[in-house]
């Protein structure tokens, strides 16, 4: 130490001449653009999936109902409420938000005398920081808390599949399935939309845990046809999947298929897993008309409750439209058998080639059984009734699809025109293409629909795949006339369709005549929807029950026919048409039948 050490520190006085660095008014200082301040939520974008609630490590978030926001398909109707007594402004909730609706603004001062105010619903409770653009948003790029891209299932290439009816979508491998299952945030938005309210997050979790038996148990809680649904379900769940809002929706359907595919086709094994080895009988008998999804579903759940069920089927095998309406390349017959065999193994009796009304009457069933469930489906093709549609070379898609399965001779011409834009139209389009390929070595199918490309009711992938297989899908035209020359079909005359519904929402298509086209073809197939055949209902029964303005039987929430308590009706003739609605209302009807027969208990 020396004398310098006494004086050197006084150099600090030089600071006296400098400008001060303190901020005069620290309140109101604008925070950095990325600052994690108070929450804001775009409540019209938010779907109330609750993923923010799931990730909050402080349990600062509660999902609560909000006035003016209704629960609907794809939206729980709830919105996050945040407790600023718990929040640490980590913004994990923002980073994971499935819709990117949530953000933090860079506002950070809030003075209030009432502590309760610090629990608030961002975006709903008025706050003056919402107008601030700055703040924390999900970081970009490539910063994701869950996979945004779907794991694609392998498919046969169009060249390999275009002349064959073998299944062309390969299943997931274990790695693929687990990778896909990992993307699920377990929000349950899908469950609410699924007509059968399947436990989707639970069975996806089973895939992650590689616990297929648990997966099967979850599937069978609400759906006794997993192999079938795992292939051809219209997957309404995937349309609303919250992960789909800022990425690809989960492949829910393929994951279901994956689970079912892992269990061998062995009914004893099924019983073992599902704990249905010995079901006690309750001595009551139920007749079920039709072995489609609703009939099979009703039979399955009734069998679990101890009822002895007999299914009456008009055709030689079980499955209804699933077997006789959906081509084999989408749903192989052995997979239908796998699901049906297990239901049969539960003691459900199948009587094939039985026509209700002619072979046995409904009245007789009423006498012989405690209750009757009818799910007879939509098997009658609808005609366009345009000029020429009565020609013998004009066919109904349902008839042709059924004949293909029954291995009856199916007329195949070199040029085919299909009318219709739904999934059935795609099924017949692609089936005809395969038959053409087998017979002529080339494809010439033109499919046209009233709806434009964007509004075609068929699944997008069906349209894409049909085109891959060489079919021409030309949407947006209305059929006017089937051109007949010398008794032979020459083609289909169409006009450009301008609109389908009028202002009142009634079916009333408008056309632009100037844009007329002729699709040349040697045969025309109509596929514009199906109707029901209720001829098995006698006049007496008809007089007791009620029909609505669409000609459908009126049923209550238990699918019990109004007026005839012993008759339950479900499936496509009530709701749909699709497999999963049938399964759902078959299940509900089973519960309804149980309630009806055990009312006095």
């Amino acid at each position: 130490m020396n004398i310098k050490d006494i004086f050197t520190p006084f150099t600090a006085w030089s600071g006296v001449l400098k400008d001060p660095v303190t901020i005069k008014n620290p309140i109101g200082r604008e925070a950095a653009p990325r600052y994690r301040g108070f929450h804001d939520n775009d409540i019209n974008v938010c779907i109330g999936c609750g993923t923010c609630e799931a990730i909050c490590e402080n349990q600062a978030i509660d999902l609560v109902p909000v006035d003016g926001i209704d629960t609907k398909s794809g939206d729980s109707g709830l919105r996050p409420k945040i407790d600023y007594g718990r929040c640490c402004w980590c913004a994990l909730c923002v980073d994971i938000c499935t819709t990117d609706s949530l953000r933090l603004t860079n506002e950070y001062t809030w003075v209030d005398t009432d502590a309760d105010n610090f629990r608030f619903i961002p975006g709903v409770d008025p706050k003056d920081w919402y107008e601030k653009e700055d703040g924390w948003r999900k970081p970009v790029p490539n910063y994701n808390f869950y996979g945004k891209e779907r794991v694609h299932m392998g498919e046969l290439h169009a060249d390999e599949r275009s002349d064959s009816f073998i299944e062309f979508v390969k299943g997931y491998s274990k790695e693929q399935a687990q990778q896909e299952a990992d993307r699920c945030v377990s929000c349950g938005i899908c469950t609410a939309t699924c007509p059968a309210h399947m436990g989707i997050p639970e069975y996806i979790k089973a895939v992650r845990n590689d616990d297929m038996e648990e997966g099967m148990r979850v599937l069978y809680e609400t759906n006794p046809l997993p192999e079938i649904c795992g292939r051809i379900c219209t997957h309404k769940c995937e349309d609303v999947c919250s992960v789909g809002h800022t990425g690809d929706a989960l492949s829910i359907r393929w994951l279901k298929r994956y689970i079912a595919d892992q269990i061998p086709a062995d009914t004893d094994k099924y019983k073992d897993i599902l704990g249905t080895g010995d079901l006690a009988k309750n001595g009551k008998k139920i007749a079920i008309i039709g072995s489609g999804p609703s009939g099979l579903s009703a039979a399955h759940y009734l069998a679990l409750l101890g009822y002895s069920c007999t299914i009456f089927e008009k055709l030689p095998k079980a499955g209804g439209m699933m077997r006789y309406g959906i081509p084999e390349y989408r749903l192989p017959y052995d997979q239908i058998d796998k699901d049906v065999d297990y239901i049969a193994a539960l003691g459900v009796e199948f009587k094939y080639n039985v026509n209700i009304g002619t072979d046995i009457t409904l009245e007789q069933l009423e006498k012989d059984y405690d209750a009757v469930f009818s799910g007879t489906g939509l098997h009658l093709g609808r005609s366009t009734r345009i000029p020429g549609s009565d020609n013998e070379n004009v066919y109904q898609s349902v008839d042709l699809l059924r004949d293909i399965v029954l291995e009856k001779p199916v007329p195949v011409k070199e040029r085919v025109v299909v009318i219709g834009g739904g999934n059935v139209a795609m099924d017949i389009t692609r089936s005809m293409a395969r038959l053409q390929m087998q017979q002529f070595g080339k494809v010439n199918v033109i499919t046209t629909s009233l709806e434009d490309e964007e509004h075609m009711p068929a699944d997008r992938e069906e349209i894409v795949e049909a085109r891959e297989e060489g079919c021409s899908i030309i949407p947006g035209y209305g059929p006017q006339e089937i051109i007949i020359e010398d008794g032979k079909v020459k083609g289909l005359k169409v006009w450009k369709c301008l609109s389908i519904f009028d202002e009142k929402g009634m079916f009333n298509p408008k056309f632009d005549q100037a844009e007329e086209r002729v699709f040349e073809g040697d045969m025309v197939i109509e596929s514009i929807g199906q109707g029901m055949d209720l001829s098995y209902l006698t006049e007496e029964i008809k007089s007791k029950i009620e029909f609505n303005n669409r000609g459908r039987i009126v049923v209550d929430a238990d699918f019990q026919a109004k007026g005839l308590p012993w008759l339950f009706v479900g499936g496509d003739i009530i709701e749909g048409p699709d497999v999963i609605h049938g399964i759902a209302n078959g299940h509900r009807a089973a519960m309804g039948i149980d309630k009806f027969l055990n009312q006095g208990r």
């Binding site: 130490m1 310098k4 050490d5 006494i6 050197t8 520190p9 150099t11 600090a12 600071g15 660095v21 925070a31 950095a32 653009p33 990325r34 600052y35 994690r36 993923t51 799931a54 990730i55 490590e57 402080n58 640490c88 402004w89 980590c90 913004a91 994990l92 980073d95 994971i96 933090l104 924390w136 970081p139 790029p141 490539n142 910063y143 994701n144 808390f145 869950y146 996979g147 990992d182 993307r183 699920c184 945030v185 377990s186 992650r208």
Partner: protein
């Protein structure tokens, strides 16, 4: 002796007397000794633990350290949360330099899950930047803070102002000033904002200037020297005996720096040589930290010059809600501003850690070593001693 130049040095040869078996004879009823509890009273890092002191006059003859007043259990909280939920809690384990905790959680989970090879380079550079910024803001407070414990407040004012500027940079980079929550398993949470480097460079220039001024204020200061030279000496033997780390070890001539000894991130691509001293007293420790301040400024410049302009900030990782890590255990250590800072992390195949155990320098420096060094210290110097050991009780009591 220089340190005796200005004043009176008491003769402590008689007190306390020693019993035959060598233990101290501290008989409180003799009225020669006073029992004094220092703390726990929060304000400042030295106050959230307690010292039970036995005094003879104002000299300490025996000191015992007591921790346990913070009642936190952060390790347990982390063990009950998903892997991704750990980092917002971890930062509370050490307020002074929270980023170290974030990094350790990320590094442990990445190593045990096998994702450590996939962390993008950009993220690694940004992690390094934020860790060095954390060191810098700690030193800006810690170096002048040492003089602050001797009531020389002006240096603290300068340091805190400059630290605030670094917090401004943190704010624009990470979205927060103190609890940054920036390093996340898989990467980091943001790229450098536009113009960041230029603003940082401005701040570094100010800090360059500060480094010169604080040298004159503290290290060429008779009072500071008088009170710090020869005080609180940590010998080389003590370094080994207690496991002393960081600048405290380096000031005792033991060159220990995890960044050099066991390089992580891209520290092997940076050019630096950790400063050392031989004396092991409070002055030497503070001076080593002042040199480290120079070095940290230089490291930040090196990082900003070497880091890529663009790149991914996070690896493709499993869904954070479903992330499970196979059974395993690891101990990851890095060089924090206070020295080697490690985390022991055990996973059991579930979605939460089985065990999280933090091992920070304060646990060594602030509990056992401090008890040793307290003896013969004047009560007026206790805070200086604690600060010179960089004691941070929250990190002792995780």
């Amino acid at each position: 002796m220089l340190n005796n130049f200005f004043g009176f040095k008491p003769d402590r040869s008689k007190y306390p007397s020693v019993n035959e078996d060598g233990s101290l004879n501290i008989d409180l009823s003799s009225h020669q000794y006073t029992k004094l509890w220092l703390g726990p009273n929060h304000p400042g890092v030295t106050g959230n633990m307690a010292m039970e002191l036995t005094l003879n006059g104002d000299e300490i003859v025996e000191g015992k350290t007591h921790v346990g007043y913070l009642h936190r259990g952060f390790e347990k909280l982390i063990e009950r949360r998903l892997f991704v939920q750990g980092f917002p809690t971890s930062i509370r384990m050490c307020v002074a330099e929270p980023d170290t905790n974030e990094y350790l959680i990320a590094a442990c989970t990445e190593e045990l899950s096998g994702y450590d090879k996939q962390i993008p380079d950009m993220a690694k550079w940004l992690r390094m930047l934020s860790l060095e910024m954390a060191r810098l803001q700690g030193l800006l407070r810690g170096v002048p803070g040492q003089a602050g414990t001797y009531s020389l407040g002006i240096g603290v004012q300068w340091g805190v102002y400059l630290r605030d500027l670094i917090l401004d940079r943190f704010e624009e980079l990470t979205g927060a000033r103190v609890y940054h929550m920036y390093i996340i398993p898989g990467g980091v949470r943001g790229l450098l904002p536009e113009g960041f480097k230029a603003r940082m460079e401005d701040n570094l220039k100010d800090i360059d200037d500060f480094i010169v001024r604080i040298k004159k204020l503290m290290f060429d200061n008779a009072i500071f020297k008088k009170r710090s030279i020869g005080q609180g000496i940590v010998t080389k033997e003590m370094v080994d005996k207690y496991g002393v780390v960081g600048t405290t070890a380096r000031a005792s001539g033991v060159k220990r720096d995890v960044r050099k000894d066991n390089p992580y991130l891209f520290y092997d691509q940076l050019d630096f040589d950790p400063p050392t001293a031989e004396e092991g007293d409070i002055y030497a420790r503070t001076f080593v930290r002042w040199q480290e301040l120079i070095q940290t400024v230089d490291l930040i410049r090196q990082i900003m010059a070497k880091m890529p302009e663009k790149g991914d900030i996070r690896a493709q990782m499993p869904n954070v809600l479903n992330w499970r890590i196979p059974k395993g255990e690891t101990y990851v250590r890095i060089e924090s501003g206070r020295g080697e800072y490690g985390m022991y992390y055990v996973t059991d195949g579930s979605d939460k850690p089985r065990r999280v155990n933090l091992r920070g320098p304060s646990y060594t420096h602030g509990v056992a070593l401090l008890e040793d060094l307290l003896v013969n210290t004047n009560i007026a110097d206790i805070h200086a001693l604690m600060v010179s050991l960089q004691t941070c009780p929250p990190e002792i009591e995780r």
